[in-house]
């Protein structure tokens, strides 16, 4: 091979690499498929800013946050008669004419030190009162965080429910059976970051309750093993290395323990690992499959999937007494339970007429409600405010993330440009 030809190869490689890496940066983009029937109408005036162009458009981030909740519709900017920056510029009649119930305006300034200060005001157009005036500060890299903060405040003020726009998601991406990535992104899919890359499968990511660590299953040793990883430092620790299954890690609500699955004693059983003493205690004793543990809200019990009745169903065990009761009775496949933050709903994968959907069971009445109409739905993960859940599904032959509100009224999906996306895990509040 002569030298110039080799150079040509190098150039070609650089080009191919460049194209590849720019594709890999592709984000999950949101497509809203269903919202509530009578969404609250809010006008978000373009945020005031006199400086150089910013890398993020803050008002459109707030706009899409509120739209994505399904509970708001926004007034198009082209219909607005004025772009007020402060209260003195607000003429309520103009906004009432547009059918707007609320008006949000904001103005951004920069301190001599370079910090950005966003002052925002929310008005009730119908009763003509200012509901709040707040300020949020941040660096250039935190512009999206500042916008999500505004969304959280607006959402909570109007709906009475705490916003979850500042939260994150962790998920797994697979590009082939040889390329896997554990990813973290904002709850809207923006700013994806790689937490782990491997040519072996990565599974079952789970957040620590303080939002600082993620536990997951990685096959990098040639076998499944449970790891935990600190997000800030990237420091990892292997927690289990037993023969057979090492799976389904779930942190206890106080973060001191981890429920998980080991099959070292012959078949899959639920264990609890005390993270301080490193002691494992076996929770279930049954020849059937016991898996997918998740904690009750008080941390005194574990709910899990078991096929001890012949088919997978959901059970709850009280840790102190070992008393086990069956929670699901409708249908012949109920698995991977998650409790809503208020404890009122049990969310799970439920098979109906041979198709796997996400369903919610009312814990009081036992009534099951199917929330999704997509197929091969799995891995539901509930937002910390209990308003929405994210799940994995198939769309046009690819694994993507979908989201649905717990009352099934709001639906959206986050398709990825490439790769199969799966196993979303919604962070707690930070």
């Amino acid at each position: 091979m002569n030298l110039p030809l080799f150079r040509l190869w190098q150039l070609l490689l650089v080009l191919v690499c460049f194209t590849l890496s720019s594709q890999l940066r592709a984000e999950l983009t949101i497509e809203i498929t269903q919202g509530v029937d009578n969404p609250t109408r809010i006008a978000i005036a373009p945020f005031g800013w006199d400086g150089a162009a910013l890398p993020e458009n803050l008002d459109s981030i707030v706009e899409s946050d509120l739209q994505r909740s399904g509970q708001f519709s926004t007034i198009p900017k082209r219909d607005m008669l004025s772009f007020p920056r402060r209260e003195a510029d607000v003429y309520y009649r103009d906004w009432r004419m547009l059918g707007s119930e609320y008006l949000l305006l904001a103005n951004m300034e920069q301190t001599p030190e370079g910090e950005y200060q966003l002052t925002f005001e929310l008005f009730d157009v119908l009763s003509q009162v200012k509901l709040l005036r707040k300020r949020v500060d941040g660096e250039l890299s935190q512009l999206r965080d500042m916008a999500h903060f505004v969304s959280d405040v607006v959402y909570e003020t109007i709906t009475g429910i705490r916003g979850a726009f500042s939260t994150k998601i962790v998920y797994v991406e697979a590009f082939s059976s040889e390329r896997y990535r554990l990813m973290m992104a904002d709850a809207d899919g923006a700013r994806p970051r790689v937490l782990l890359k491997s040519k072996h499968p990565i599974m079952s990511p789970a957040w620590s309750p303080d939002g600082r660590q993620v536990a997951y299953v990685s096959f990098e040793t040639g076998r499944p093993a449970i790891f935990r990883q600190e997000l800030a430092s990237g420091v990892r620790e292997q927690l289990t290395n037993f023969k057979g299954l090492n799976g389904a890690p779930a942190w206890s609500p106080d973060g001191s323990k981890m429920a998980l699955v080991l099959s070292k004693d012959g078949n899959p059983e639920i264990y609890v690992l005390d993270l301080a003493t490193r002691k494992f205690s076996r929770i279930t004793r049954h020849f059937a499959i016991d898996t997918e543990p998740n904690w009750t809200l008080d941390g005194k019990g574990v709910i899990f999937t078991s096929d001890r009745g012949g088919k997978p169903q959901i059970y709850q065990v009280t840790l102190a007494s070992g008393r086990t009761e069956r929670l699901t009775f409708e249908g012949d496949y109920n698995a991977r339970p998650r409790l809503s933050p208020d404890g009122k709903h049990l969310v799970m994968v439920h098979r109906l007429n041979g198709v796997f959907h996400i369903a919610a069971q009312d814990m009081k009445t036992g009534m099951i409600r199917v929330l999704t109409e997509t197929h091969l739905d799995e891995s539901p993960s509930i937002a910390p405010n209990g308003a929405m859940l994210m799940y994995a599904t198939k769309y046009r032959g690819k694994g993507i993330l979908g989201a649905v509100s717990l009352d099934a009224g709001v639906k959206f999906r986050l398709p990825s440009k490439q790769g199969d996306v799966r196993e979303p895990s919604w962070s707690p509040y930070f």
Binding site: W9, L12, L13, V16, C17, L20, S21, L24, S177, E178, V194, L196, K197, S198, K199, H200, P201, M203, S204, F219, E220, G222, R223, P224, G234, G244, L245, G247, A248, V261, S263, N267, P268, I289, T291, E292, T305, K311, P312, Y333, A335, R336, V349, R351, F356, L376, E378, S379, G397, R422, E423
Partner: protein, 159 residues
């Protein structure tokens, strides 16, 4: 002719290796092995054409199962009986990889894949194979054999 083909395939291997290299900026130590694995897989596909001509009678090494089941089918039992005879005559370490189809939840499918791998292991042990030579591992639905056929995915691979 031959040298031209060789040059082409070498060039391809270089591209593949470099691609694998340039796309991995990970903090884990898999990057180095990644690129070598990619390069060698190109090599092996080049020789697979000739090995197809071999009409040596080979035993099945993949055994299929019904949905949510881990019961061995009759054809699997026949093939495994022959495997057991071979393994008793010339013992070697065998890895039994259990898999599930995409339906159902991932961790439950991990358990199902393990149950299938163990069904194969138990059968071989019953036939007299030394259990210390048999390792079972489940991949659940993490490594599908087919993107269209559930039947092809519910399997145990003997390696």
């Amino acid at each position: 002719m031959f040298t031209k083909a060789l040059k082409q395939s070498m060039g391809l291997a270089v591209v593949m290796a470099a691609l694998a290299g340039c796309s991995s900026t990970s903090t884990t130590d898999t990057a180095a092995t990644d690129s070598s694995a990619t390069a060698s897989s190109v090599d092996s596909s080049a020789v697979s054409g000739s090995s197809m001509d071999d009409s040596m009678a080979k035993l099945d090494t993949v055994f299929y199962f019904d949905f949510d089941q881990s019961v061995l089918k009759p054809e699997a039992r026949a093939a495994l009986t022959a495997h057991a005879a071979q393994l008793k005559a010339s013992p070697r370490s065998v890895r039994l990889e259990g898999h599930a189809d995409e339906r159902g939840t991932r961790e439950y499918n991990m358990a199902l894949g393990e149950r299938r791998a163990k069904a194969v292991r138990d059968f071989l042990v019953l036939q007299g194979v030394d259990s210390s030579n048999l390792e079972t591992i489940s991949y659940g639905e993490e490594r599908l054999a087919s993107s269209s056929s559930h039947e092809m995915n519910r399997r145990v691979e003997l390696k």
